[in-house]
Structures are given as structure tokens and as C-alpha cells.
């Protein structure tokens, strides 16, 4: 064993990497628990890549074969049901983990200089994760997916000035058709993985360059632990727990396939986008037709775009945090938005109309 390790070390210098990781320190304090969310999101992304590649062996992205190919995977391919269900559950858990990671970083003010770019790449990764979810939702070509994609692309279409064009580009035409399925498949398996992988590398490089942020007020002399093996083993334990949850969900609550999409059928009742988009669609429902002479939906879209923009540039707006001073106003703003999104999501599920 040692001879193999020596052989590899002479060629790859693994010991120096291990020594480097062993000297890298992770702060230990009562907020350390939030440090595991980024790794959890990464793990779920890796699960998605692995299960996605396996699904690609059988999936056929065309209106006449997409639904049938997934039904074949679920019904006839050995462990196909598990792979498909894991892919669907992990997608949702990944969005949840990414949101939790983003808001934990936000409330711990880890975006403080010099980590502005880490935060901004993270925000873009969050948007790409949502795009992953949105594009993947259509691929089974089932009833719910078709109409939810219609609703989703209609919301995009309400964007002022470029909305109509954007919706046309996303749909590949005026309506959600086979052309939409083909391009969503392209986005989902080629464009988005490429962008996410590239940005992830930048994100990790920035984390490596700047180290792990400490909350405001935590002293540099506080306790630390070596990244390797102490933090890595803890992270591994979290990954194992997530894997157990995934297997449990996929086995005991298999993800439904539903009925094949029929573009000529009327929309079934209770159509709503995926849970992570419902706060937006629900808000747009409550808006009046016109606000200050503008279309209500346009105002809503602009408002959400403004929130996203503020979130994106918050490291430059939060001057108090930049000086290592508590910035309650920014935290309050984040909490209000989070409460609003949560309320709208709950309303969408329990009182949709």
C-alpha cells in the first residue's frame, strides 16, 4: 500500500497537497454549521451529474418519445426508477441547499470585502441552478411540465421591452412545443453544465484565495480546525446523511411521472411552477392589472429584477458590513424578503386563488 502511495506521490506530489490541506484552517464558532451548506450543494450537483448521465443513456428528447423513454426507464430499466427518482429529488434538494447556502452567506455577511466576487459568482450559480430546475422540469414532457413551462415562460414574457423576444427564444416559437423541448434539453445537458462547472471552479478558487469568512465580531484567535481531515470528514458525514435522505425519498416517495403532455388539452387544475418559483407567480396573481400606468405584471417583474440586482451588488451597498460593523438594516431587508417569499409560497400551496 505504502509502495503504491510512494509511487503516486513521486508523480503527483499528493503529500504536499495533503499537507497544504492540513494547514488550511476552518474557523470554529457557533455559526460553523452553515459552512457545510456549500459542500452539500456541491454534493447534490455531483449526484445530478452522475444520475443525469445515466438517464441520458435512455432519454430521447422529442415530444413523441420523451415521456415514453422516461416511462421505459422507470418501468423496465434495472434501477431506472431509482436513478430517475434520485435525479428528481436531488434537483429539489439542490435548489433548497443552494438557497440555504446563499441566505446563510447573506446573513453572516460573508460577502464582505475581499469576497465580493465569491458572492457574485455564487449569485450567478444560484440563477443557473434555477435555470437547471426550470429546463429540467419540462424534459419528462408530462402534463404538469408542459403547462408549468407555459406559465413560466409567460412570466418571462412579461419582462418589459425584451420579454416577447425572450419568450420566443426560450420557446423556439410562439408556444411551448417540441422545439421548446429540444432547446431546453440543450440548455440542460450542455450549456448549463458547462457554465456551472466553469463558474464553480472560479467560485472554489476564490474561496481558496480568500479563505473561509468569519462572522462579524468573531475573533481571529477563536478556535480553528484543519480543513483536512477534520472538516473534510465532517463534510463527508453530511454528504452521507444527504445520500441517506435521497435514497429514502426516492424509495419511499418515488417521483411521479404523471400523464403525457397534450398541447391541445386544456390546462389541468392546480397548475403551478416548481415550488422555488411559486412565490413569484403567486405575487403576480395579486397585482392589479395596472400600476401607475404600467401593466401590473411588468411592475412585478421589474420589482423582482430589482431585488435580484440589489442582492447581487449587496457587498457594495452594505458599507457597514464592509467596515466589520453589524448592518441590521440589510439583515432586516433580507429577513423581510425571505418572509415574503415564504408567505407567498405557502399561499400558492394552501390558498392559490
Amino acid at each position: 500500500m505504502n509502495r503504491v502511495a510512494d509511487w503516486l506521490d513521486r508523480r503527483l506530489h499528493l503529500r504536499s497537497v495533503r499537507d497544504f490541506l492540513g494547514h488550511k484552517l476552518v474557523p470554529m464558532h457557533h455559526h460553523s454549521i452553515w459552512y457545510y451548506l456549500g459542500g452539500m450543494t456541491l454534493f447534490l450537483f455531483l449526484v445530478q451529474v452522475a444520475s443525469g448521465v445515466l438517464l441520458l443513456l435512455y432519454y430521447r428528447p422529442a415530444p413523441e418519445s420523451a415521456f415514453e423513454s422516461i416511462r421505459f426507464i422507470v418501468a423496465h430499466v434495472p434501477f431506472g426508477w431509482l436513478i430517475r427518482s434520485v435525479h428528481a429529488w436531488a434537483a429539489n434538494l439542490m435548489v433548497g441547499a443552494a438557497f440555504a447556502h446563499l441566505f446563510s452567506v447573506f446573513f453572516l455577511k460573508a460577502y464582505r470585502p475581499p469576497r465580493e466576487l465569491t458572492w457574485m459568482t455564487g449569485c450567478v450559480l444560484m440563477a443557473l441552478t434555477l435555470a437547471f430546475g426550470f429546463s429540467g422540469y419540462l424534459l419528462p414532457w408530462n402534463e404538469l411540465a408542459l403547462f408549468a413551462t407555459k406559465v413560466g415562460t409567460d412570466i418571462v414574457g412579461a419582462t418589459p421591452l425584451v420579454g416577447h423576444w425572450l419568450r420566443f427564444v426560450l420557446r423556439g416559437g410562439d408556444d411551448v412545443t417540441g422545439a421548446t423541448l429540444t432547446r431546453f434539453f440543450g440548455f440542460h445537458v450542455a450549456l448549463l453544465p458547462l457554465l456551472v462547472t466553469a463558474l464553480l471552479l472560479v467560485h472554489f478558487a476564490l474561496v481558496q484565495v480568500h479563505g473561509i469568512s468569519q462572522p462579524i465580531g468573531a475573533s481571529k484567535s477563536d478556535r480553528n480546525m484543519p480543513f483536512y481531515p477534520h472538516f473534510v470528514l465532517r463534510e463527508l458525514l453530511v454528504w452521507l446523511a444527504v445520500l441517506a435522505v435521497l435514497i429514502g425519498l426516492a424509495t419511499f416517495m418515488p417521483w411521479e411521472l404523471g400523464h403525457k403532455a397534450d398541447p391541445f388539452a386544456s390546462a389541468p387544475e392546480g397548475i403551478r411552477p416548481e415550488w422555488y418559483f411559486t412565490f413569484m407567480s403567486q405575487t403576480l396573481k395579486y397585482l392589479p392589472p395596472t400600476i401607475a400606468g404600467m401593466e401590473g405584471e411588468h411592475v412585478g417583474i421589474i420589482a423582482f429584477a430589482m431585488v435580484a440586482l440589489v442582492l447581487f451588488v449587496v457587498p457594495f451597498l452594505d458599507r457597514r458590513a464592509a467596515r466589520d460593523q453589524p448592518s441590521l438594516l440589510v439583515s432586516l431587508g433580507g429577513a423581510v424578503f425571505l418572509a415574503f417569499a415564504l408567505t407567498m409560497t405557502l399561499l400558492a400551496y394552501f390558498r392559490p386563488y
Partner: protein, 413 residues
């Protein structure tokens, strides 16, 4: 009264010299019941294409005086009921004339009416029977597609019932007056009047409209067969056709009834007290045995489908993919409909043959769904293996983490 009206017409007419249509002008000014036709005509389908009073009543609308209503000017006044069909037929039976307004409208109404019971009785002087205006109305006639028209699909039952449900009016004709009441309870009436399904038949779909005539005992299948062609073909090729004719039984109506036809159920078949078969077939007869066998085939298929549906439902609820089973189950459901139609052959072998294949399909579906439920249970058990392995590795990892932490902790002073 007529003198007063004539005087009024002279007075009003004097001031109407040069009016475009003196009928409209004078009757409008006269008011009340004499003006009612003018206001009603505003919505009339004939007025909309430029026809006016004189086109039916004759006279000279260019004459502002009462002389407009002179017989020498073709004035016919209020047409007698016996003359109305011919009056309407002057235009409606003229293909060249009708083509100018509505080329799709048939022009055989008058000919059809003359063959109808209404037309025949009118020809021998019975003026109580329906003529054109009895159903279509007068002064304000609407297209049959207009929901307000008395001959719109939804309104036909009440329009016919206006006379046919009136015992006093129908006295002497020797026909029942409960058709509307029965129809309202029937499957056809429920579909049309309650579910507002205009594909369901109203009176005229079976009896005809202008040529209204009750179907004879040996032509009922042809009437019902307009909408139920498979049942008709099967019945006409069956041994029941000749037997029914011999007994004078009115084909479909003998089992299903006419105005009060209810939704056919499996209970009508077989040898149970609700069966219609036992009305003719004695317990020891061949027909009795055939009825029992056909019922058994239908029941077997229906029960197999119900069992398959229950199993597929359970498997779907458990999250198992049942798409292919749903498709097969749907084919079994369609086969059940076909087998129920096959009953009209009254051939137990044909019915059983039709049912056997679908029953096997339904049982396959049930077995497949049950196998899926077993697999679902197995998956849950099998899932415990990786979960236990994860727990074991997690436990080891946790122990290692604790050991590492102890190594780093400074010894107690």
C-alpha cells in the same frame, strides 16, 4: 272594432303619403295588438333579409291608404291554418328563390309536411294539428340555431309538449300525453336538458320534424340506429329480429322503452328480477340459458376490470409507474363497451368470445399491478441495505472525527 280600425287607418294613412312601407307605418301608429307584429318583426329572420308584411299577407305597401289592403291588390289578410304550409312553401319549396338567401336550407319541408301525421290531418280539415307557425312562431321567427327559437334543439321538447302534453287539447287523438314527463327522466332528456349536451336527441331526431311520424314497430331499429348504428346492425342480423316481428314487438323499444329510455345497465341482461330477458324467456328455455351465459360473460369482464383498476390505483398511489397498465386497462374498458354491444347479437358464444380476450387483459393488468406493489415492498426492504451501510460508515466516520478531536484537545491542566 273593424270600422274603428279602418277609420284610423284612413286618418293615419292620410298623413303617411309617400312612406316606404305603409303596413309598418300604419300598424306602428295604431299601437297595441295591431302594432305588435311590427315590433316582433324587427327580430324576424325574414325581415333581416328584406322581406316584409306584404310578402306573406299581400297588399300594396306603397299605397298609404286602406286601399293597400284591397283583395284586388293580392291582400290575403290573416292566412287560414290550412293555407299556411302552402303560403310558407311558396318560398321555402322554391330552390331557386331560397338559394339567394340560404343555399344550405332544405326545400322539401312542404313535401315532408304533407307526409306527416300533422300534414295528413290538416289536409282532411283538422286545423288543431301543427302547421309551420305552431312550431316556428309567427312575426319574430328566429333561425333554429338561435337559442331563443322554439325549434332550437334545447326548446324542441317543450315546443312539441305545448300540444302533446295537454290532455284537453289532445283528447280524441287516442295517444298518451306523458311523453315530455318520460323524456325528462330519460337518458336522452337528462343529457339534453340537464347536461345541455346538444348531441343528445330531442323529439324531432327520432320522429322527424316536418315529416313527423311515429316509427312503426318494424322500423324502430332504423330510427335508433341513426345514433346507435352498431347495435342496429347487430340486432337486425340477430334471431330476435324475426321473432320480434312475428310477435309485433317494437324492436329496440321492446326492451329499452321509447320516451322514457333509461341508461342501459348490465342489470337489464340475464335472469335476475331486473332483467328484461325473463319477460319473454321462461326459466327452462334456451333463451333463458343464453341470457344467463351472456350476463356471466359481461359480469366476469366487468369484475376483472374493477379488480385491475383497484390494483393499478394502489400501485399508482404507491408511486409505481403504471402507464402501460393504464393503456391496457383502457383497451379492456373499451372491450367491455363492445361486449355490451355484442349482447345485441343475442349469441352467448360471440359475447363470451369478445369478453374472454379483454378479461385476460384485465387480469394481466391486475397481476402486473400486484407485482409492482410487491416490488414496491421489496424496494423498501432493499433500501434498508444501503441505508444501513450508510449508517455504519457514518458511525465509523463519527468515531474517527471524535478521535481526531480528542487528539487536538489540549490535555486538562
Amino acid at each position: 272594432m273593424r270600422v274603428v280600425a279602418a277609420v284610423l287607418l284612413v286618418v293615419v294613412g292620410a298623413g303617411r303619403a309617400g312612406a316606404a312601407d305603409s303596413c309598418v307605418a300604419c300598424h306602428t301608429d295604431l299601437g297595441d295588438e295591431l302594432a305588435a307584429p311590427v315590433s316582433a318583426m324587427k327580430a324576424d329572420v325574414h325581415a333581416k333579409v328584406g322581406l316584409s308584411c306584404a310578402d306573406c299577407h299581400g297588399g300594396d305597401p306603397a299605397d298609404p291608404d286602406t286601399t293597400a289592403m284591397d283583395e284586388t291588390k293580392g291582400f290575403v289578410g290573416r292566412p287560414a291554418p290550412a293555407d299556411i304550409p302552402v303560403l310558407c312553401g311558396r318560398c321555402h319549396s322554391d330552390e331557386n328563390f331560397m338559394r339567394r338567401y340560404n343555399p344550405q336550407l332544405p326545400t322539401d319541408q312542404l313535401a315532408a309536411f304533407r307526409t306527416s301525421v300533422h300534414g295528413r290531418r290538416l289536409a282532411v280539415g283538422d286545423t288543431k294539428v301543427a302547421n309551420c307557425v305552431s312550431c316556428h312562431g309567427v312575426h319574430g321567427i328566429l333561425a333554429p340555431s338561435d337559442a331563443r327559437s322554439p325549434v332550437h334543439k334545447m326548446n324542441v321538447p317543450t315546443t312539441c309538449a305545448h300540444c302533446h302534453s295537454d290532455p284537453a287539447y289532445m283528447a280524441g287523438y287516442g295517444i298518451p300525453t306523458d311523453q315530455l314527463a318520460k323524456y325528462q327522466r330519460s337518458v336522452h332528456g337528462q343529457l339534453l336538458l340537464v347536461q345541455r349536451d346538444v348531441g343528445a336527441p330531442a323529439c324531432n331526431d327520432c320522429h322527424g320534424n316536418h315529416g313527423a311520424f311515429p316509427p312503426g314497430a318494424d322500423s324502430v331499429a332504423m330510427v335508433c340506429g341513426q345514433c346507435h348504428p352498431i347495435n342496429k346492425e347487430l340486432f337486425l342480423a340477430s334471431p330476435h329480429r324475426a321473432a320480434f316481428h312475428k310477435l309485433g314487438l317494437p324492436e329496440c323499444v321492446a326492451c329499452h322503452g321509447n320516451h322514457g329510455v333509461v341508461r342501459a345497465t348490465d342489470d337489464m341482461l340475464g335472469t335476475t328480477p331486473t332483467s328484461v330477458c325473463i319477460g319473454c324467456h321462461a326459466p327452462d328455455s334456451k333463451g333463458y340459458a343464453a341470457a344467463a351465459r351472456m350476463r356471466s360473460s359481461v359480469d366476469g369482464l366487468r369484475q376483472a376490470i374493477a379488480a385491475a383498476e383497484a390494483a393499478v390505483g394502489s400501485a399508482t398511489t404507491a408511486g409505481m409507474e403504471m402507464g402501460e397498465e393504464e393503456v391496457a386497462l383502457q383497451s379492456a374498458r373499451e372491450a367491455l363497451i363492445q361486449v355490451r354491444n355484442q349482447v345485441h347479437t343475442f349469441d352467448p358464444v360471440a359475447v363470451q368470445k369478445g369478453a374472454n380476450g379483454a378479461t385476460a387483459t384485465a387480469r394481466d393488468v391486475e397481476n402486473s399491478a400486484r407485482a409492482a406493489l410487491v416490488e414496491f415492498g421489496n424496494r423498501r426492504w432493499l433500501a434498508t441495505i444501503p441505508l444501513a451501510m450508510i449508517a455504519l460508515v457514518g458511525g465509523l466516520l463519527y468515531a474517527r472525527i471524535r478521535a481526531l478531536d480528542r487528539e487536538r484537545r489540549p490535555p486538562p491542566s
